[in-house]
């Protein structure tokens, strides 16, 4: 089937099986390889993109379900003010180790801050727990989200004295 999908502000035409997940459309048909394959079943979040601004697991999103939805991927996220702030905070705090999950982390974090500019630690937990970081850079991911939000980035969760 032929589909016209809206990716990073551009209409792109692809010939694909209706069931083909957006992840593989991006990676193998459109050569946008920043979005990563981790589990194929929406358990890890490495494939997260934005669908009309909402964080979405592209590995379980068939191309036929997209319609005229506006899709944003890691390649274009720094083009939004929130995405740019998140990217800059990620680099400033040297968040990544292997980096494989980080596109998905940045997409989830950008979606969180676009909706909730000053998230609490609990808000961060809720928004980010679908994204596995196998290197466990969670300490810095949390700090970078706070930095991007213009909040103090020190971790103050352990309070007993």
């Amino acid at each position: 089937m032929r589909y016209t999908i809206q990716i990073n502000g551009k209409a792109r035409e692809v010939e694909a099986d209706p069931q083909m997940p957006l992840l593989w459309v991006l990676r193998d048909l459109l050569d946008l390889k920043g979005t990563k394959f981790g589990c194929g079943k929406s358990f890890c979040g490495a494939c997260t993109v934005h669908l009309n601004g909402a964080p979405t697991r592209s590995c379980v999103t068939p191309v036929s379900s997209l319609g005229s939805s506006s899709i944003t991927t890691i390649e274009a996220i720094a083009g939004t003010p929130t995405g740019r702030a998140v990217r800059d905070a990620w680099l400033a705090l040297d968040v990544m180790q292997c980096g494989y999950c980080q596109a998905g982390q940045v997409m989830s974090a950008s979606a969180l801050l676009a909706k909730n500019p000053k998230p609490s630690d609990t808000d961060i937990d809720k928004a980010m727990s679908g994204n596995i970081c196998r290197c466990a850079t969670y300490t810095r991911i949390r700090a970078a989200i706070k930095r991007a939000a213009g909040m103090p980035s020190a971790d103050s969760r352990d309070t007993f004295v």
């Binding site: 069931q19 981790g38 466990a136 300490t139």
Partner: protein, 725 residues
């Protein structure tokens, strides 16, 4: 069987490297470093295998080791750039090809990059600097001793003349190479790059979505491949419905590969090759294979546990250490304890599934591999395909995680074989289930401890019967225990012994191999001993370490100092945890690093475990080369250990791995990740590695905290919340 002194243990091997001290260079062969210069008149000019300088002053530094997320592509060039005396902003870093004749050993393992390269690569930079100084001195006809360098320039101090490295490079490249062992190194107090935080060099490219990982590789004419292996390890494919598969959309070919049964080589299976990986992955759902499952189709996790229990009542088959007279000492002890501990198989679960791109053509293979250890892969590929090592070119591609999985190169030989048979370059990609069910697992283990205390609570007698895996007196990979396992040599009457069960499952190194399991059982049982003695568990450990001294390569003073540091930083003994909450401590020496860690954890309703905070005290020597990377590694390793303790298990049923994805193999997530506070204790010892040694002690520290919180011991991993419900 008595194994008098297991000197070939991993740690002993590492120590041998460091014992050379200043002679580390001997261990780090750079056979052709100084002969790799060619085209001296062209730009850029090649000063040695690692350094090129262009006429405009741009410096290219080659990073020789695989990047798996440990930050090595940034850190190794820092060592060269420091001594070359250039500004980091002028440095461009390139990843080396796998070429050990040119670069020396190229691998990511054993936390060895720092001890092996700390001095060696600084000397490479210093040699380049010396050649540039000589070139300037000759140009000005002045003594080299009157010249200094800074920021990519040579300055003649008396006349204040200066020349940029770019202007000097082509002349320098024609000069004789200095003796690496003789080149002077900077006084550390003059370091400008080492010791300052340098963020990952490729991080901006990752966040721009550039195709940097193995899975992103694309070469002209490339096809995709999936490879379906027997669910029982070592099984072989007998027949399959290949014609039906070949008729599926996107499929070009499907064939049986008759490999096996070696684990780290070509396995038997069915390859499906075509134009679109997702279509191939879908086609495999229709695949019907008749497998010869082989001899291990009946093994199970439950079977191993009952076998271990039976073996525990017998004497260990292998005596690793036998000091004093444990039986008599236990008999005369004022108090005795015994406990059985166990831990499961676990998977590496790199987030990037195993993959490799290979192109067989004209009797040669070009390979693009996310690998931690390319050279053994080259040898397996050459042997399997009947080629010479020199016919195999390996590009080391950034790895989406390693953790030891990519020390094995099974995916590399699979890709090469499939490319040869398909007659095209192919990218082989495993799906998550392939990856989880065809790993080289951290071996499970069973430990049966006894201890005897005197009336004052002092540890008099200690024994461990470790029921592990292996055959013919030889432990399976990463399933061994050395004669140096603490508290060996610290207790007058002590026995460590091993019994082995045959195993048909591939095992291998997982981050801090051996240590990631042994730390848990030994440091937990020592905690039991401290509590039985009625003493503070942290102070009890310091007392057990005793006088500050060397015990073999182990420096008790360094461990006492990190214990004291973590006591101070965590407020140990000074803070009162609320009800249901406790603090636990553990230490461990591995990979030449001294680590003491405290965990604060809380048990809530229904046994719900919250890890509140982790404190890590780190003793890795005189210099933290890249502080931002170092802290990140330590925090990640500590959280990785918590992840193993809370959720990770691989179980076997009918010879098959039961888990298949992240819904049943549980990795730590954001809502479970506590703050991790890291404190580096600077000492006068040479710097050592950080990728691994922070992991082992966090697991027992967590379990000991849960005991402090609840009075319940965690004697089996992963931690079962039902224990506390």
């Amino acid at each position: 069987m008595m194994r008098a002194n297991k000197t070939e243990s991993r740690r002993a091997f590492l120590r041998a490297g460091v014992a050379l001290g200043g002679g580390l260079l001997l261990d780090f062969s750079l056979p052709c470093v100084l002969n790799a210069r060619e085209n001296a008149s062209s730009s850029p000019s090649t000063l040695n295998a690692f350094v090129q300088i262009a006429n405009d002053g741009a410096v290219t530094i080659i990073s020789k080791n695989p990047e798996i997320g440990q930050g090595i592509k940034t850190m190794l060039p820092m060592l060269i750039a420091e001594e070359l005396d250039v500004d980091w902003a002028d440095v461009h870093i390139e990843q080396a090809l796998s070429d050990p004749a040119k670069y020396g050993a190229q691998f990511a393992g054993g936390s060895r990059a720092t001890p092996l390269n700390w001095e060696a690569l600084r000397r490479v930079g210093a040699a380049g600097r010396q050649m540039l100084v000589s070139a300037a001195a000759q140009t000005w006809s002045v003594p080299a001793a009157e010249c200094e360098t800074a920021s990519g320039k040579v300055v003649h101090v008396p006349s204040k003349r200066s020349l940029s490295y770019g202007r000097l490079a082509s002349k320098a490249a024609t000069l004789p190479a200095p003796d690496l062992a003789q080149v002077p190194l900077k006084d550390p107090k003059n370091f400008k790059i080492i010791g300052k935080p340098h963020p990952g060099i490729d991080s901006p490219r990752v966040l721009a979505g550039e195709p940097l990982f193995g899975i992103d590789v694309a070469v002209p004419g490339m096809l995709h491949a999936v490879f379906v292996k027997s669910p029982v390890f070592g099984g072989t494919a007998v027949k399959a419905n290949l014609d039906a598969i070949k008729s599926q959309p996107g499929v070009r070919d499907a064939f049986i590969v008759g490999g096996g049964p070696v684990f780290n080589g070509l396995a038997s299976g069915v390859a499906i090759v075509g134009t679109n990986w997702w279509q191939l992955d879908r086609a495999r759902e229709l695949l019907e294979v008749t497998w010869d499952e082989g001899a291990t189709a009946s093994q199970s996790t439950e079977g191993f546990a009952s076998q271990a229990a039976t073996l525990s009542s017998q004497a260990p088959a292998i005596k690793v250490v036998s000091d004093g007279d444990v039986i008599s000492a236990l008999g005369s002890s004022a108090r005795t304890l015994q406990a059985a501990y166990s831990y499961p198989f676990i998977s590496h679960a790199t987030l990037e599934p195993q993959n490799c791109t290979a192109h067989f053509h004209d009797g040669k293979v070009e390979i693009w591999a996310p690998t931690q250890n390319p050279d053994p892969g080259r040898k397996i590929v050459a042997k399997t395909l009947g080629l010479n090592d020199a016919d195999i070119t390996i590009h080391m591609i950034r790895c989406g995680g390693g953790f030891g999985r990519r020390l094995m190169n099974d995916y590399m030989v699979e890709a090469a074989w499939i490319s040869k048979q398909a007659g095209a370059p192919i990218k082989l990609l495993w799906n998550r289930q392939d990856d989880m069910q065809h790993d080289f697992y951290r071996p499970a283990g069973f430990h049966f401890f006894k201890a005897g205390l005197d009336a004052g609570g002092k540890l008099q007698a200690f024994s461990d019967h470790f029921v592990s895996f292996g055959e013919n007196g030889k432990a399976a990979p990463s399933a061994d225990m050395s004669a140096n396992e603490f508290p060996a040599k610290f207790v007058p009457h002590l026995e460590l012994g091993i019994s082995l069960m045959p195993l048909g499952v591939p095992t291998g190194p997982l981050r801090a191999p051996g240590s990631n399991a042994l730390a848990y059982v030994f440091q937990s049982f020592i905690d039991e001993i401290a509590h039985a003695a009625g003493q503070d568990p942290l102070q009890y450990r310091i007392d057990l370490l005793g006088e500050r001294r060397q015990v073999g390569a182990f420096d008790t003073g360094r461990m006492i100092d990190v214990l004291a540091l973590v006591r101070e930083k965590s407020g140990w003994g000074k803070r009162t945890p609320p009800k249901g909450s406790g603090m636990g401590v553990a230490f461990y020496y591995s990979h030449l690093g001294y680590f003491a860690e405290v965990v604060h954890a809380t048990v809530g309703a229904g046994g719900k475990i919250t890890v509140d905070k982790v404190w890590v005290a780190v003793g890795v020597g005189s210099q933290i080369i890249n502080p931002t990377g170092a802290e990140n590694q330590v925090q990640g390793a500590a959280l990785d250990g918590i992840s193993e303790a809370l959720g990770q298990t691989i179980t076997l049923n009918k010879g098959r791995v039961a888990q298949s994805n992240f819904n049943d193999f549980l990795l730590l997530r954001m809502n479970q990740a506590p703050p991790v506070e890291v404190h580096f204790l600077k000492t006068e010892h040479p710097p050592t590695g950080l990728g691994e040694p922070a992991l082992p002690p966090v697991i027992p520290a967590l379990c000991n905290a849960l005991f402090a919180a609840t009075g319940v011991r965690v004697r089996s991993l992963p931690i079962d919340p039902k224990l506390f419900a």
